[in-house]
Amino acid sequence: MNTAPSHVAVASIRGTGTGATRVLGAISLALLVWLVVSALFLTPADVVQGDSVRIMYVHVPAAWVAYLAFITTAVASGCSLVRRHRTLGFDRVAGASAEVGVLFMGMALVTGSLWGRLTWGTFWQWDPRLTTTLFLFITYVGYLAVRQVDVDPQQRARRSAVIALLAVLEIPLVHFSVVLWRSLHQEASVLNADGDVRLDDLMLFTLFSGVVAFTLVFAWLVIHRQRLTALADTERVIGLDSAIAVRRAEVAR
């Protein structure tokens, strides 16, 4: 009745890797190696910013993946509420994507503030994009905290899906109000500072391959995390089978 995988399928699973994910992992790894080589050695330093521009090759892909994860979680949460027969499946994707998303969002925030220190001289600017990302990060941490609380899986799926969808309402409002708030005080913005970076073809290509590599890593991590949770759920189902048998045997005696 519930969406647990059949026992036959379980018996054949030796791990969370399959042919497809191994290929995916190999491609991500190759792309990451190329990214490191190209970002650190092949691309030139920026005229104005110097070597600190290289942070961009990590920062931009990380921020991209963070928002991709946010969207993935929101869509999967919506699906888990609507498609009632596949609730737990979508919930696993939503949870896995949120976990990976928090990781990349943290990375984007740290690299962003390091770059800010080198470029503007301050670790933090109350810029709308940064502030929105910070609030998104905190919201996600709260979302994961709720997922940690041990309740019935169906109930947890429903509750966390609602929180994820409320975040979709929250983030535009936060962004809009921060934009409005900052516009009254000062005009400095990352957008203007970013405009100074002139990207040549190799830099653009490196940045683009960084985005692709991080996206593949994200997909790879989410698939594995999702399968791991599915196995844990299956383990619970098998445990329940034997527990029922034990209880019935006790009565028969």
């Binding site: 941490v141 905290a145 709720v146 109930q155 609602v162 409002l173 936060v174 109000s177 708030w181």
Partner: protein, 226 residues
């Protein structure tokens, strides 16, 4: 509509008996105002920050009011029996939000008065109209969001720390808006009245958006498994 009033009246009657707001929340909020003043330790700075400080105090007090609002529902599983009395749980949501709104509005009025006394804030004719409108829309938003997240955590272990963690980020736009608009009402130099009204409009949109979300989301959240 009638059951919204019935639920709200029940909550307010319980508040009237137990005096939680009077005995715990009001002293706490006043303490926050005083502590802010001590921490800033500069009169012009305090006067400039007064609007923000008042709303920070109300924000913290909201956490207490919401926690209390669901403590009375879950301590003897009364929420289960209330929900089984109505086919539309959203009325229970609006009823509880209404009771929270009444309490928070009273608290906001008191804190604004304290800000005039303690911080030396000033309000005149036009500013007063704006101020009352801001207080109405902002406390409405606070109650609707607070009640929504109150029910999210109502049945969870560790709800006392989860409520602020989940709801404060969502309440951030409201804090920004309410503080700016109140600053305008206090006659600040950095923000004019028309800007204050624009922020009030944002607060109204905010209350409507989260009120609608709460009406939809309350039913699946309230009907717990334990």
């Amino acid at each position: 509509m009638k059951s919204i009033i019935v639920v709200a009246r029940k909550d307010l009657r319980i508040e009237g008996r137990s005096r939680t707001l009077l005995a715990r929340v009001v002293p706490f909020a006043l303490l926050v105002l005083v502590l802010f003043a001590v921490a800033l330790d500069s009169e012009p700075l305090i006067l400039r920050a007064s609007a923000g400080l008042v709303w920070m105090a109300i924000l913290f007090a909201t956490m207490l009011v919401v926690q209390r609002s669901f403590e009375i529902e879950t301590s003897d599983a009364a929420l289960d029996s209330v929900l089984s009395c109505t086919s539309s749980p959203s009325r229970v949501y609006f009823g509880k939000a209404l009771a929270t709104f009444v309490q928070l509005f009273a608290l906001a009025t008191l804190l604004v008065l304290c800000s005039v006394v303690l911080y030396g804030s000033r309000v005149d004719g036009d500013g007063l109209v704006l101020l009352v409108t801001v207080m109405l829309t902002a406390t409405a938003g606070l109650s609707l969001v607070g009640t929504l997240y109150g029910v999210v955590v109502a049945r969870l272990n560790g709800r006392d720390s989860l409520l602020p963690l989940l709801s404060l980020p969502v309440l951030a736009p409201l804090l920004i808006g309410a503080a700016r608009a109140t600053e305008a009402a206090f006659g600040s130099q950095t923000i004019d009245m028309s800007n204050g009204w624009a922020w009030t409009a944002l607060l109204a949109v905010y209350a409507v958006v989260f009120g609608s979300a709460g009406a939809v989301a309350f039913a699946p959240l309230a009907q717990g498994d334990s």
